[in-house]
């Protein structure tokens, strides 16, 4: 069986990142060199994870690809277009660490939101939203409100919403970072199943090594200060993967390999655990004062 999700040589790059630098400044003084000389091609249908210690700029890189912030220098090409053009063409679905659901909307209406903005008709919206909620196994919760759901369920609604308008690329920024280990593993299974069903290209930021190895076709290991790509590791675990894949020898070897590259890069796991604070700092610096 051929695996459509592996990265064959000569494949079409969906995302091409070349020479990207990102420097956060305040006035004339440089605060942080978040990213330096990032080059990466992401191929069609790939599942690619970014992992690294706090301050390695992995979230920033994802935000640059998604045109939520712009690089200081270098270029990002998405489906042959600029990142901004791709965003305006709605090529991206995004899932953040917080589900960002609207409490005034039911679960179904939250999933319909992007479809409303795209101007789809009511019948299509309903059909599509229900399909997506079935996909994340929340078909029984259409009329519930977000506050009636657990954190894991909310995040599944956010995934359903991101998939609703069939974006060619899904950008996920530590989507399961706030969930407990059990829920996280369950969500990993779900996301893998969805990826296999939809064939969407996924860029996934995480600070969990097992998560990165279990999910990805390639893991991009990054080092901090300045944020650089330390190594890109091919994950040749056979597919389809399931809970048993987590207990194979090859899985442990790959987890060890990622860990060793992380350690060599100066980033300890403890450091990685503080990544939430780092991410929000990056965000604050990127956005500047609100106003």
């Amino acid at each position: 069986m051929t695996d459509p999700h592996s990265a064959p040589s000569g494949a079409v790059p969906v995302v091409r990142i070349s020479g990207v630098d990102k420097t956060f400044t305040r006035g004339d003084s440089i605060l942080t060199k978040a990213l330096e000389a990032i080059d990466l091609d992401v191929n069609l249908g790939e599942f690619i994870s970014f992992i690294g210690p706090s301050g390695c700029g992995k979230s920033t890189l994802l935000r640059i690809v998604g045109d939520l912030t712009s690089p200081t220098s270098g270029t990002v090409t998405v489906n042959g277009k600029t990142a901004e053009r791709a965003r305006r063409d709605r090529d991206y679905g995004m899932v953040f660490q917080a589900p960002v659901l609207f409490d005034w909307r039911t679960v179904e209406d939250n999933v319909k939101l992007p479809l409303e903005i795209l101007g789809q008709d009511a019948a299509t919206r309903t059909k599509r939203a229900r399909e997506m909620l079935e996909l994340v196994e929340l078909g029984d919760f259409l009329k519930h409100h977000p506050y009636q759901l657990s954190g894991g369920m909310q995040q599944r609604v956010a995934i359903a919403r991101a998939l609703a308008f069939q974006p060619s690329i899904l950008l996920m920024d530590e989507p399961f970072g706030a969930l407990d280990e059990m829920t996280r593993e369950r969500m990993n299974g779900e996301v893998l199943r969805i990826w296999q069903q939809t064939g969407t290209t996924i860029l996934f930021v995480t600070h969990s090594i097992p998560e990165a190895v279990f999910l990805s076709s390639r893991v991009v290991v990054m080092s901090a200060r300045p944020g650089r790509i330390a190594k890109v590791i091919d994950i040749d675990l056979p597919r389809p993967r399931n809970e048993d894949s987590r207990e194979t020898r090859r899985y442990f070897e790959l987890v060890t390999e990622v860990r060793e590259v992380l350690r060599a890069g100066g980033g300890s796991l403890d450091d990685a655990a503080t990544v939430d604070a780092g991410g929000s700092l990056e965000r604050a610096l990127a956005e500047g004062p609100i106003g």
Partner: protein, 283 residues
């Protein structure tokens, strides 16, 4: 991985049951408040005489009730027509103040520069005892003009509405704005789909303050003169005529209007934004 392996979560999990329970409020919860109210009346009726408090200082509830009956709609202190006149001033003030406040809030939310100078003024003005301007309003618009009182009410209503609604429109979760940006949504779409729904709870909070303020504005405006068939004039004139039972009767009318105002806003809030009440935990 088999999707069914983990099992579907059921729709009647504990969190939902808890919410359903919170959504209902039994009559029993109102009993303590009723007991205190009735007890208070009984204490006033029988306790005051026992401790020799003169009736002109604090009239008995039955005396106030009699005053209400005697002055219902006729005589020098006709309560119902006066209350209606005051109500009209308060409602005009409430409507004008709210419309103006919401308009300014939208402008200041839309344009950062406008917000830069409007919001500090609105917040500052909130701290000023605006009611102190009441005699000036009477002077500007004419002592006998009910508009002077209505505008006093409107000014009082205006500032908390501006401050609250602006906050509701502006203080949107940053993630929500990023999400809308990822959809390449226009400012207009963001306003309709995010900012306005986000501002609704703030608006209702403002309205709860504003209804009370509109009554205060109208009644205090009346204290400084004008038509005598309004609650404020009845309060002033009956008190100076030592007819305190009538004074209390007029105050009760004002209180009743205030409570009805508040109840209408609270009911509207329940109907328009039921989710907000649940989130506050008092659904």
């Amino acid at each position: 991985m088999s999707a069914g392996l983990m099992g579907r979560p059921t729709a009647n999990g504990p969190a939902i049951v808890r919410l359903a329970r919170a959504g209902r409020r039994s009559i029993g919860e109102y009993v303590p408040a009723l007991v205190v109210l009735v007890g208070g009346f009984l204490l006033l009726e029988y306790g005051l005489a026992a401790v020799h408090i003169e009736s002109f200082l604090l009239p008995r509830p039955t005396a106030v009730a009699a005053a209400i009956a005697d002055n219902w709609s006729t005589g020098r202190f006709a309560l119902v027509p006066s209350a209606l006149a005051t109500l009209e001033e308060a409602v005009i003030g409430l409507v004008v103040g709210t419309i103006a406040g919401v308009t300014v809030a939208f402008a200041s939310a839309r344009w950062g520069t406008a917000r830069g100078f409007l919001l500090p003024i609105a917040i500052g003005a909130n701290a000023i005892p605006i009611i102190a301007f009441a005699p000036l309003f009477n002077n500007w618009f004419g002592l006998l003009n009910p508009l002077a009182k209505a505008l006093m009410a409107a000014v009082l209503v205006f500032f908390p509405v501006v401050a609250n609604v602006t906050r509701g429109l502006v203080q949107v979760e940053p993630g929500a704005l990023e999400l809308m940006r990822s959809y390449a949504a226009s400012e207009w779409t963001i306003l309709r789909k995010v900012r306005i729904p986000n501002a609704l709870p703030y608006f209702f909070t403002a309205m709860k303050i504003a209804t009370t303020l509109s009554l205060i504005g109208a009644i205090v405006g009346e204290y400084f003169g004008g038509s005598s068939s309004v609650l404020g004039r009845i309060i002033v004139q009956s008190a100076s005529a030592l007819k305190f039972d009538v004074t209390w009767a007029a105050i009760l009318f004002g209180a009743a209007i205030g409570i009805v105002f508040y109840a209408i806003v609270a009911l509207a809030e329940r109907l328009v934004i039921p989710w907000a009440a649940v989130l506050r935990g008092d659904g």
